[in-house]
């Protein structure tokens, strides 16, 4: 009897895990960086390549670090949301221009609008590795103490901004 009931048992176990899988989003990859200080970097700025920025510049006000590139199609979808977020003035928006050509990046900003307070350039993608970036676009919320509070993979939507970002911003002190 047990021999013939075994397939049912196996199926039951599989069903249990399938059911568990339903309530989870496989695209959601938790970043080990959340709750940790932002990784160190020392990178040139896009608009003024002779000036450099470092993680110290993140401290003081809450900042949304947005990884983008002019060759990235999904970044175009997200761009409207970033512009609106910049206009809302609830958080400083900082761009991390990833593996891009400077001319293309500047051309993109002049055509589509520029939501970024400043933009750092990661031409060879080294800094992005430290940040655990594996696709563009990605966004990180860094609080006023320079601690990463939130990470989103893929294009931001306004619903996400209202449901996730703003509540987190309310909790963390410091205004832009």
């Amino acid at each position: 009897m047990l021999r013939y009931g075994l397939p049912l048992l196996v199926f039951g176990v599989i069903l249990y895990f399938l059911f568990g899988g339903l309530s989870r989003d496989p695209r959601l990859v938790p970043s080990p960086l959340v709750g940790k200080p932002a990784p160190a970097f020392d990178l040139p700025q896009l608009r003024t390549p002779e000036t450099r920025s470092s993680q110290a510049d993140l401290v003081g006000t809450p900042t949304l670090v947005n990884v983008w590139a002019s060759w990235c199609v999904a970044c175009r979808d997200e761009h409207e949301v970033l512009l609106r977020l910049a206009r809302a003035r609830r958080v400083r928006v900082l761009g991390l221009n990833y593996k891009d050509e400077r001319d293309n990046a500047l051309d993109w900003l002049s055509r589509l609008g520029d939501p970024y307070e400043s933009i750092i350039v990661d031409a060879d993608g080294r800094a992005a590795i430290d940040w655990g970036v594996y696709g563009v676009p990605e966004s990180f919320l860094v609080d006023a103490k320079g601690i990463i509070r939130y990470k989103h993979v893929g294009p931001l939507t306004w619903a996400l901004v209202e449901d996730e970002l703003f509540p987190l911003l309310k909790k963390s002190p410091g205004r832009p």
């Binding site: 013939y4 397939p7 199926f11 069903l15 895990f17 899988g21 496989p26 990859v29 938790p30 199609v73």
Partner: protein, 657 residues
């Protein structure tokens, strides 16, 4: 108006499906002929109503009725009309409609070609199939209705996913579904036999042709999908071990095992409980495939539409269908007794080994596919299982399968003298080894052992197949005798086995000797892959009906002789603004030359992916040989004779009862 007719047709089909699921089953239990007789008309009626629904949806697409949400999401006035029809099954709702329609096609086929079965058995089979359709029609009507309207209607539709705007899409999903859903017939036969308590050789004989037909459609669907991925996705690969590919591969593996174990059950009255379990598993894995594609529990390039509510619904369907049938199996199987006796060294033994290898392969694929899900559910972290796992585990198993496959067909039933077998095989192993060694040695390069192993297995299968044919013919005199000795069943089997040999050869050559390079080229520059020179001669803009494209002109030459001029495109579809790569391929039986466009580079150039792929066509040729083999086997004389005899014995009026 038209969408409402379609919606109504769905509801009417659901009503009929309910009747078909309940009345014939109850009638068969109580022996009431009138109740059992409702099964066939109900099945035909469902087929009719689902045809109406399908035509209504197609008509809405052709008329670009964007007030229908599904049409607005998946079509556009600029979409060429053949793709508008293909768009009917281009997304979730419509593909369910296709699923259900195909299920009724199988029901009609069972109703039509069931002469020779008892009325009670046929009623139970159709009742089970009706029950499956109840579940899918409910799912469609409650959560995924393709006829939902929305107002105000948009002026323009969002267009079909550009990946799917390809002739491959027109045929790939229907073939695949014919296979998936076709296993519901074997499943229903097994369930009907379990419910009725008559698990005998007749049940296996009735199941065999149906299983082979479903299997050949699945094989065709997978082959087409692989070919489509190769030329459309722009990576130049033929198999990616994507969860959804795995979802089609698992039923294929189990279905292949089922075909072989059915042969044993039919001929030798052995393996009955096991065969029954395989029939349940094959269809369960088809359902699981549907769940994986439609629920979004796993990340996949195929996960177009994901919605947790739908996931729960399919999971409930899965739980009831699979759980219910396995429960029935657990209760009824202990009473099944096999009468066929056999020794380990026998054809039965070889087929058992075949079954074990195939099931272990299927289980390994299932494990790899669900492993990320399991770890995540246990909070043990997020991982993904990639091609290295599957290649390491499954490829050696398939190689082992090839070894068993060589001797299986030439072994005797019941008992095989090993010395006799060794005598008949003769020099074949050595010959195969020498051949593989010489070919690989002549080609040179790395991966010596893998290449020899792959070619050895392929040659071994070919040599033993020749031996099998020779043994059939050796005592025959004259053409007529030879033709009689080579039944379609035997030729079909041999052809399918040779197909596996072709496939193994193709996979071995492509993966070990293929050259794949990503090179940035400016106009006039060239690069080399596999002793072929690829020169970028020009770039120009091209305007399609619903896309814009840049087309490159790449001249391929070998020893300063032009071999091909390839024109790959990089397309941007206007509505979905998605960039698509149209690879250009110069096909050949022994090698493909492949160019796909990457990103533009400065100073008038493009990064190109150039590939030299030896033997890649053999993979799909092998698939087609298996399909052809299946067709021959399913049309074997004994099935045709059985049908004719049954019709002669029972006048049409009686058979229709």
């Amino acid at each position: 108006m038209i969408p409402e007719i379609g919606h109504l047709a769905l509801i009417l089909a659901l009503g009929l499906a309910l009747v078909q699921c309940i009345l014939p089953l109850a009638g068969a239990q109580r022996g009431i002929v009138g109740w059992m007789a409702t099964a066939r008309p109900a099945a035909y009626g469902q087929f009719l109503f689902l045809c109406v629904a399908f035509v209504c949806l197609a008509a809405s697409f052709l008329a670009s009725d964007f007030s229908v949400l599904y049409v607005a999401n998946n079509s556009n006035t600029a979409l060429p009309w053949p793709y508008r029809i293909a768009a009917v099954w281009g997304a979730h709702e419509g593909s369910l409609l296709l699923w259900s329609l195909i299920l009724t096609v199988w029901m009609v086929a069972v109703g039509r070609f069931s002469a020779g079965m008892t009325l009670a058995f046929r009623s139970r089979v159709l009742a089970v199939m009706g029950g499956i359709n109840v579940a899918f029609l409910l799912f469609m009507i409650l959560t995924s209705n393709p006829f939902v309207r929305h107002f105000p209607a948009p002026a323009e539709g969002r267009d079909l996913n550009p990946l799917l705007q390809d002739p491959g899409l027109v045929v790939h999903p229907p073939m695949l579904y014919m296979g998936y859903v076709g296993f519901s017939v074997a499943f229903s036969f097994a369930l009907a036999a379990l419910i009725g308590g008559h698990l005998d050789a007749a049940w296996a004989r009735w199941s065999r042709p149906w299983t082979v037909v479903a299997w050949l459609f699945l094989t065709l669907g997978i082959t087409l999908g692989s070919w489509w991925a190769y030329y459309e996705l722009g990576w130049g690969g033929f198999w990616f071990w994507d969860p959804v590919e795995n979802a089609s591969f698992m039923p294929w593996l189990v279905g292949t095992a089922l075909i072989h174990s059915l042969a044993v059950t039919d001929k030798r009255d052995a393996f009955k409980a096991w065969t029954c379990l395989l029939a349940i598993c094959a269809f369960s894995l088809s359902l699981l495939g549907t769940f994986l594609v439609r629920s979004g529990v796993l990340t996949s390039v195929h996960a177009f539409a994901t919605d947790p509510k739908r996931g729960v619904f399919i999971l409930v369907i899965l739980a009831i269908t699979v759980g219910g049938s396995l429960l029935l199996y657990a209760i009824r199987a202990p009473r099944i007794h096999d009468t066929g006796q056999f020794e380990p060294a026998s054809r039965e033994g070889a087929l058992l080994l075949n079954n074990i290898v195939l099931m272990v392969a299927a289980a390994s694929v299932l494990l790899g596919t669900l492993y990320p899900l399991v770890l995540d559910a246990l909070d043990l972290g997020k991982i993904s299982v990639g091609p290295p796992y599957f290649n390491t585990v499954v490829l050696p198993l398939l190689g082992g399968l090839g070894l068993v496959l060589g001797i299986g067909p030439i072994m005797h039933w019941k008992r095989q003298e090993m010395r006799d077998l060794a005598r008949r095989i003769g020099w074949a192993p050595l010959l195969a080894l020498v051949f593989a060694g010489v070919v690989v040695g002549w080609r040179g390069g790395e991966h010596f052992l893998q290449a020899v192993a792959g070619l050895f297995v392929a040659t071994w299968v070919v040599l033993t197949a020749i031996q099998g044919v020779r043994e059939r013919l050796v005592h025959q005199h004259g053409f007529a005798g030879m033709a009689r000795a080579l039944s379609r069943g035997f030729v079909g089997m041999t052809l399918a086995h040779l197909g596996l040999a072709a496939g193994i050869t193709g996979v071995t050559l492509t993966s070990l000797y293929g050259v794949e390079r990503d090179v940035p080229l400016k106009r006039g520059e060239s690069a080399e892959a596999g002793s072929y020179q690829f020169r970028l001669d020009g770039l120009r803009d091209v305007l399609g009906p619903n896309y814009q494209a840049i087309e490159a002109k790449v001249t391929v030459s070998r020893d300063d002789e032009t071999v091909a001029v390839l024109k790959p495109q990089k397309r941007v579809y206007r509505v979905q603004t998605e960039a698509m790569t149209e690879a250009a391929i110069d096909p050949g039986l022994f090698r493909d030359l492949f160019v796909a466009m990457g990103e533009p580079i400065r100073d008038d150039g493009f990064s190109l992916r150039i590939q030299y792929k030896p033997g890649v066509r053999l993979i799909w040729l092998g698939g087609l040989m298996m399909v052809l083999g299946g067709m021959l086997a399913a049309s074997d004389r004994r099935y045709r004779v059985a049908l004719r005899r049954a019709r002669d014995v029972l006048p049409e009026g009686v058979a229709a009862v």
